[in-house]
């Protein structure tokens, strides 16, 4: 195992590096964050998605910079400029595809990253704040994706914006005024498009980067959880290092590169061979320019919002529906305090938690599917059943995590190679 002595005795180097390290803690940073940062040795595939989320973030920023060079914001120019990028800018089709499909990839990766936290109890103490920063990233990402979706100014852009912004009109008293304030007009219009562009390329990316930085700092402070939910810091060897820990670099840097390879291969298959992904990643209706006189049937938001959209539509009363939509998103924030179980990982939990996690998983996926379908009676009834499943995972959590017969957690992590 390649390790220096103590983190405080960082090699300052000679020559230029020595000069630099006296003025900027380059080597200290590398040592603290990579060489002397101990991660549990038993990470499985679920632990790839954090680094992959960072990769997708960078990919979105870079492709977004190039798209902004050619995109022309405005209700008469936006649609044509996107088509210009796809057809006449050198490799514009590739950059545009990377960015549009990257948005979906971001949510695939983030949902799997969040699901990992549910399975292994990564939100539980001492990682509550880490989880909250992650949830704020998720909120910012939803805003970023929604506004980005409006920018091509296709017909689904227009109508999805109309429907989603109208959800705010259900807020008592201030609702109608608020909706007008968000749109900057009496309907979704040029003013809306321009402000969404500004927020999409400047404001929200800044917030996202700040939150990602906080998420990473908080992670370094408490250390990573692992599939066994065992705190490796509580079991240190005579050298003061966790016996079940290995330095992040080189072990997890080389391992994450394998994850990157797998991810990019799948991503490239989509980008080059199935870019629309059967209408999920690029909708047919968005290849028609925005048209306030022609409503696409059915109006469905992007697949990553459809679980919440299905919940909204499952309630006859619009105001209560919007409230439940909000609660469905916010419920995740309360997980650290809803969970009363003494163990973290699903591996050592009892049947109650396992059963409820299964109910939640099925409900979430079913709602995602139903949100893409037209609001027919049978679909809406099914959405009601699954919405109950979705909320019972959260609402009943303080009870079933208490009743649950947990197994005893070993001192050492289980490691299979």
């Amino acid at each position: 195992m390649a390790s220096n002595d103590a983190a405080s005795q960082v090699n300052q180097g000679a020559g230029f590096m020595g000069w630099l390290n006296k003025r900027l803690p380059v080597n200290k940073f590398i040592s603290d964050q990579l060489l002397e940062y101990y991660a549990p040795k038993n990470f499985n595939v679920w632990y790839f998605f954090g680094s992959l989320a960072l990769l997708v973030l960078v990919m979105q920023l870079v492709s977004g910079i190039f798209l902004t060079m050619f995109y022309k914001v405005g209700d008469t120019t936006a649609f044509e400029s996107v088509e210009f990028i796809r057809r006449e800018v050198s490799y514009g089709w590739l950059i545009q595809s990377l960015h549009a499909i990257g948005a979906s990839a971001f949510f695939v990766v983030v949902y799997l990253h969040m699901y990992r936290a549910l399975m292994y109890g990564s939100y539980k103490a001492p990682r509550e704040l880490l989880w909250l920063f992650g949830m704020f990233i998720y909120l910012a990402l939803m805003a970023e994706a929604f506004m980005g979706y409006v920018l091509p100014w296709g017909n689904m852009s227009y109508w999805a914006a109309t429907v989603i912004i109208n959800i705010f009109s259900t807020i008592p008293v201030i609702g109608p005024g608020l909706v007008e304030w968000i749109r900057g007009d009496y309907g979704v219009a040029d003013a809306t498009l321009n402000r969404f562009f500004s927020l999409h390329v400047v404001a929200i990316p800044l917030i996202l980067l700040l939150l990602v930085a906080l998420h990473l700092v908080a992670l370094r402070q408490v250390g990573s959880n692992n599939p066994d939910g065992i705190e490796i810091k509580e079991n240190k060897g005579s050298d003061g290092k966790p016996v079940d820990g290995i330095p992040f670099h080189p072990y997890y840097t080389v391992k994450d590169i394998v994850g990157v390879g797998f991810f990019l291969t799948l991503f490239a298959v989509v980008v080059f061979f199935v870019p629309t992904f059967g209408g999920l990643f690029m909708e047919e209706a968005n290849f028609e320019p925005a048209n306030p006189l022609s409503t696409p049937e059915p109006i469905a938001p992007s697949w990553y919002f459809t679980p919440y959209y299905a919940i909204l539509r499952a309630v006859p009363n619009q105001r209560i529906g919007a409230l439940l939509l909000l609660l469905a998103v916010l419920a995740f924030f309360f997980l650290p305090w809803l969970d009363r179980s003494p163990v973290k990982s699903v591996r050592y939990r009892g049947l109650w938690f396992k059963g409820m996690l299964a109910v939640f998983t099925v409900s979430f996926l079913a709602l995602m599917y139903l949100g893409l379908k037209p609001a027919s009676a049978s679909y809406v009834n099914a959405a009601r059943v699954f919405a109950i499943g979705y909320f019972s995972f959260f609402v009943l959590m303080p009870l079933y995590t208490k009743w649950d017969r947990v197994k005893s957690v070993p001192k050492r992590v289980s490691f299979h190679e």
């Binding site: 394998v258 061979f273 047919e284």
Partner: protein, 270 residues
């Protein structure tokens, strides 16, 4: 890298890619009432498939010619330049200018119809849609079905109607090729609100005057034209797939090497 690997990969991905891309087309509206059984035709019109092949250059060339002769009079393709289209379809410059482009057009011009919008509105009630992205927004099968189901309907101002798009504003411009068809209906017993009643549903077409082409020739004409619209909707798609094979091969090799490196680094972790 050997050619056979490339071929195998392209076989692996391409049909799947095409299937997934065409799977999402909006379904045709179902016929009212009971199931429609084509008496003469073996296939229901709702199940007709374009079956076009966007990598087939000669089919695209014929489609471009059909587009120029039959569509461009009214419909523009405003995101497509003549020069780019003729380059992609390997049509020589001189031939492109002589046979495809309107006399006053320049190679770098977009493919725009000379029909004025206000005339179109006066004559047809609406502006003909731009066809640059029609294959992406509606799907190739939709367009193919549309042009297989024009029929005479004296009740309409254009004397034309269509099974896919009821009350279509567009006249049956291809009837000189396909022939003139009328719809033959049959009575079907259905139960509405618990009461038996009789409903008139479409049964089959009968050709009242034949066109210049046989049915097989017309289908080919249509397939080529739809193929051209498919190409125009996404002109880089053929390039994209051929680049994609190499990108995926590279990434597979990269992942393999990364995996070996990981195994080597991790051999002392127990």
């Amino acid at each position: 890298m050997s050619k056979s690997i490339v071929l195998a990969l392209s076989l692996l991905f391409t049909p799947w890619a095409l299937a997934a891309e065409t799977a999402a087309e909006p379904a045709a509206e179902p016929a009212a009432g009971a199931a429609v059984e084509g008496a003469a035709e073996a296939v229901n019109w709702q199940d007709l498939k374009a079956g076009n092949e966007v990598s087939n250059i000669s089919s695209l060339q014929e489609g471009a010619r059909n587009f120029s002769n039959y569509c461009l009079g009214c419909h523009s393709m405003k995101f497509m330049r003549w020069s780019r289209m003729c380059d992609d379809l390997r049509v020589p410059k001189a031939e492109c200018q002589a046979n495809l482009m309107p006399p006053n057009a320049k190679p770098a011009d977009y493919m725009v119809s000379s029909l004025r919008a206000e005339d179109a509105v006066a004559w047809f009630g609406k502006e003909p849609p731009d066809l640059s992205l029609i294959a992406r927004s509606r799907g190739v099968d939709y367009i193919y079905r549309l042009f297989k189901t024009f029929y005479v309907d004296p009740a309409k101002p254009t004397h034309t109607n269509n099974l896919v798009l009821d009350g279509i504003a567009m006249p049956a411009v291809l009837s000189e090729l396909e022939g003139v068809k009328t719809a033959v209906y049959k009575n079907v017993d259905v139960v509405v609100d618990g009461k038996p009643s009789v409903q008139k549903v479409f049964d089959h077409f009968s050709t009242t005057s034949p066109g210049q082409l046989t049915e097989a020739q017309y289908d080919k004409f249509l397939r080529n034209t739809v193929n051209f619209l498919d190409y125009a909707g996404d002109p880089t798609q053929v390039d994209r797939r051929s680049i994609g094979i190499w990108v995926v091969l590279f990434l597979l090799a990269f992942t393999g090497i990364a995996w070996l490196m990981k195994k080597d680094y991790w051999k002392d972790v127990h």
